[in-house]
């Protein structure tokens, strides 16, 4: 009979154990919920807002550099304008780590970053009697607005632009392109985060708490992690923007060919994603949520970000050449980006779904 009792005990043990749900009681639930709110608020206040404000000041600087170039067309002023373009480009590419809210809903992205540049129409535009004021630019197709037409004007094919080669019309076009970016896109983008009617920062901060954009906090975390956020940009860079020129061996379809900025564009995209994960300006990031429950996952994500970003430095030539001459390094970088995307898309997403309950 002892055996029988044993079997009963076993049965009961089985019942209990098989009913056991893997209930995680990490720390205290309340503090995790508090941490969630801190991460969300810090994303808005310490990452997104300062980064968008950076874009505004960089766009102001570009405007003034291009205006100076217009009034005093020297090679030195051309170089200043080129540098200002690159500074703004850096700020923007990092903001692409989180393409959520107004930047897409109000088309600020396609209005400024449409690719490729429509050179046929660009030539007819410059040959036409269009006054090329900022308001005229806003009415043009997106392929004649924003970063890339301005890049083409400032740098020329293969970076061959000289101040002496700039015509009066080209200079007017540049001034208005920069003004259209600042006044019709970058400034309104910033405003849409800080003021009514959209006030997107507030919509983020109130996620799961009356926000029209995010009914649950989890919705926000998944948005910032998924296709509109970190994983999305890693996929776009690693599987599309780098992959297509690489696999087709076609240097005419790279991102920013005139300024030789393509590779830096890519790197800044990934840094932008990393900013979301780590947090900026002393604020907490998603890393704090992960580290509080699963330190090994946090280490894994951070290590993969570092590995991916470091892999950029193995490519020493401009991307348009590297796709021919440094194929091993390019492939390794793409592999790192794919690995990063997979971790974000799978491990991190699973983590968020498991732990974020509100």
């Amino acid at each position: 009979m002892k055996n029988t009792i044993f079997i009963w005990a076993l049965g009961i043990a089985t019942i209990t154990s098989s009913c056991h749900k893997a209930t995680q009681s990490p720390g205290t639930t309340e503090s995790f919920a508090t941490l969630e709110q801190t991460v969300i608020s810090d994303f808005a206040n310490n990452t997104a807002l300062p980064q968008y404000a950076n874009m505004v000041s960089a766009a102001v600087a570009l405007n003034s550099a291009v205006t100076t170039l217009h009034s005093s067309t020297t090679d030195a002023n051309l170089q200043s304008a080129q540098a200002a373009w690159k500074t703004l480009r850096t700020a923007w590419e990092q903001c692409e780590g989180y393409l959520i809210g107004p930047v897409e809903a109000s088309d600020y992205d396609p209005n400024t970053d449409t690719w490729p540049t429509d050179k046929t129409q660009l030539d007819s535009l410059l040959a036409s009697n269009n006054a090329l004021q900022a308001a005229d630019i806003a009415a043009l197709p997106q392929s004649l607005r924003g970063y890339h037409p301005l890049e083409y004007m400032l740098f020329g094919v293969g970076g061959s632009r000289t101040a002496a080669s700039l015509t009066a019309k080209e200079k007017q076009y540049m001034v208005s392109l920069a003004a259209d970016m600042l006044n019709n896109n970058i400034q309104p983008l910033y405003q849409s985060w800080v003021s009514a009617p959209t006030n997107y920062a507030q919509q983020v901060i109130t996620a799961g708490n009356g926000s029209a954009a995010y009914a649950k906090k989890l919705d926000f975390f998944l948005d910032i992690t998924g296709d509109n956020g970190m994983a999305g940009i890693c996929g776009e860079v690693g599987s599309e923007k780098m992959y297509e020129p690489f696999i087709k061996k076609d240097s005419t379809i790279t991102e920013s060919p005139y300024s030789d900025n393509t590779l830096l564009d890519f790197k800044n995209n990934i840094i932008g994603a990393q900013n979301v994960y780590l947090g900026l300006n002393g604020g907490k990031g998603i890393k704090d949520l992960v580290a509080s429950q699963n330190k090994s996952l946090d280490n894994k994500i951070k290590a993969q970000f570092t590995a991916a970003i470091n892999a950029f430095d193995n490519i020493t030539q401009r991307y348009e050449l590297a796709i021919f001459n440094q194929r091993v390094q390019v492939q390794q970088l793409m592999d790192q980006l794919t690995a990063l995307k997979d971790i974000l898309e799978n491990d991190l997403t699973d983590f968020l779904k498991q732990y974020v309950k509100d």
Partner: protein, 459 residues
């Protein structure tokens, strides 16, 4: 004794599992109601919910899907160009995704970079194939944008007037009635013409709908209204420019296109001015100001790219329903059936067999459409016949994914021209064959109406 032990042991295990059994809320029909697209369903409720591939694609197929995705998003430029050339000379927009935002619907503006509304135009009468009669100098569609140096065919003015509707319980909802007028026409039109506004519809489940057998669609027809519910329904039979045959129409807001291939190629040609092997002639060919356009014999879109976009569209997944076990949603669904919204917005059907794509083959789907034309009343009429569709008839819009439009578009708009700003407004515009259902809806209490709308939000 051994036997006893074994029996007890087995009993233990059985108990172990049975005690853990949750009172699973299986729907009575035995299907998971969330799986709107059967195997082609994806569990995602983000703004990207319409953009995801069906699962189980091989690496090679996934690559084709990805290239199609890129071309769908790609901005085209004016020729000549080494890359993505072919835009214009006249067009409505520069990429697929500029209208089908996040693979969803468009925004009801015309002539701008974010415009998702276009206008078909024709004169009274029919062409050689029974379709709308093109207007000389304009063709069958107004292109209200043009590459520099070319004049857009027209500017479209959109004005709305308020139309208040009062429920029996006193609640007032204000609809907006659109009025469309043409300005700045590049060429005068002699005689009368008819306009039909078309808002870019969501790309949800198109591969599945293409796979719904013709017999299934025809089985929904009740020509003599034998069941007396006021709903008859009619299939559109249309001429396919590629197969050169009359076929049942499935796509387009008046079901005037039989296949996805023709639908996509025609959108490239008419909406963007990009020619292909299916539609090799520029939309502007033969028009007065198009004298500079090359003859239209060289397709601008490579055959492979058009086929990749077709594959992309066919392999887009349907987002799963949310909140299917919510009590209000379930009540809303009952009301949906009781007031016979389901008479046209058919919940269930089965796709045909397609051995090349098991995920969309023989699937039980919940598209909430019958793919038939119905008289929707004078308020919604465009008064422009399109093959067998009269000026009052529209194809039943599939409702799957409709609860996610707010997320995918940013601001959702409903009905064929986006005049409705809410689902409630959209319902209140229904008339004609839908009159009984609309009236029944208006008789509901406000809480019942809210439940019905909540159900729609779960789709």
């Amino acid at each position: 004794m051994k036997k006893t032990y074994i029996l007890i042991g087995i009993a233990g295990f059985v108990m172990a599992f049975s005690m853990c059994h949750k009172a699973a809320d299986f729907p009575e029909i035995g299907y998971d109601e969330r799986m709107s697209g059967g195997e082609a369903t994806v569990l995602d409720e983000s703004s990207k919910a319409f953009t995801l591939a069906i699962s189980g694609l091989s690496a090679r197929d996934a690559r084709v899907h990805t290239i199609g995705d890129q071309i769908f998003d790609q901005t085209f430029v004016a020729p000549p160009s080494s890359i993505f050339a072919g835009l214009g000379p006249v067009y409505n927009n520069v990429s697929c995704v500029n209208c089908h935002r996040n693979d969803g619907e468009g925004i009801p503006t015309a002539g701008f970079s974010n415009a998702g509304l276009l206008f078909r135009i024709s004169q009274p009468g029919t062409d050689a194939h029974g379709g709308p009669l093109a207007v000389p100098g304009y063709g069958g569609q107004l292109q209200d944008q043009a590459v520099l140096g070319t004049t857009p065919e027209a500017t479209i003015n959109i004005a709305y007037t308020d139309v208040p509707v009062t429920y029996p319980d006193g609640t007032v909802v204000t609809l907006r009635k659109p009025n469309y007028t043409l300005q700045n026409m590049y060429l005068p039109i002699t005689g009368s013409y008819m306009l039909s506004p078309r808002l870019a519809p969501p790309m949800v489940g198109l591969g599945l709908l293409e796979n719904v057998p013709e017999q299934t669609i025809l089985s929904f027809v009740d020509a003599g209204d034998t069941n007396g519910d006021g709903i008859t329904g009619k299939a559109n039979y249309v001429y396919d420019v590629y197969t050169k045959k009359q076929e049942i129409g499935k796509f387009g807001l008046k079901a005037n296109t039989p296949t996805l291939l023709t639908q996509i190629a025609t959108a490239y040609q008419q909406d963007m001015g990009v020619t292909s092997y299916v539609q090799p002639v520029e939309s502007a060919y033969g028009q007065q100001q198009m004298h500079g356009v090359a003859g239209g014999t060289q397709p601008e879109l490579a055959d492979s790219l058009l086929n990749f976009v077709l594959y992309y569209v066919k392999t887009l997944a349907v987002p799963a329903r949310r909140d299917v076990t919510d009590a209000d949603v379930k009540t809303g669904q009952l009301i949906f059936n009781q007031i016979n919204c389901s008479g046209c917005h058919r919940p269930n059907m089965r796709t045909g067999v397609d051995v090349t794509l098991p995920q969309i083959s023989n699937q039980r789907i919940q598209p909430f459409t019958d793919l038939l034309l119905h008289d929707m009343g004078d308020g919604l009429a465009d008064n422009r016949p399109d093959f067998l569709a009269t000026g009052n008839e529209w194809r039943t819009q599939p409702l799957w994914g409709i609860g996610l439009l707010q997320k995918t578009t940013g601001t959702a708009y409903y009905l064929h021209d986006g005049r409705a700003r809410t689902l409630e407004e959209a319902i209140l515009w229904h008339n004609g064959e839908a009159k009984k259902s609309k009236q029944a809806f208006m008789q509901l209490s406000s809480s019942e109406r809210a439940k019905l709308l909540k159900f729609l939000g779960s789709l």
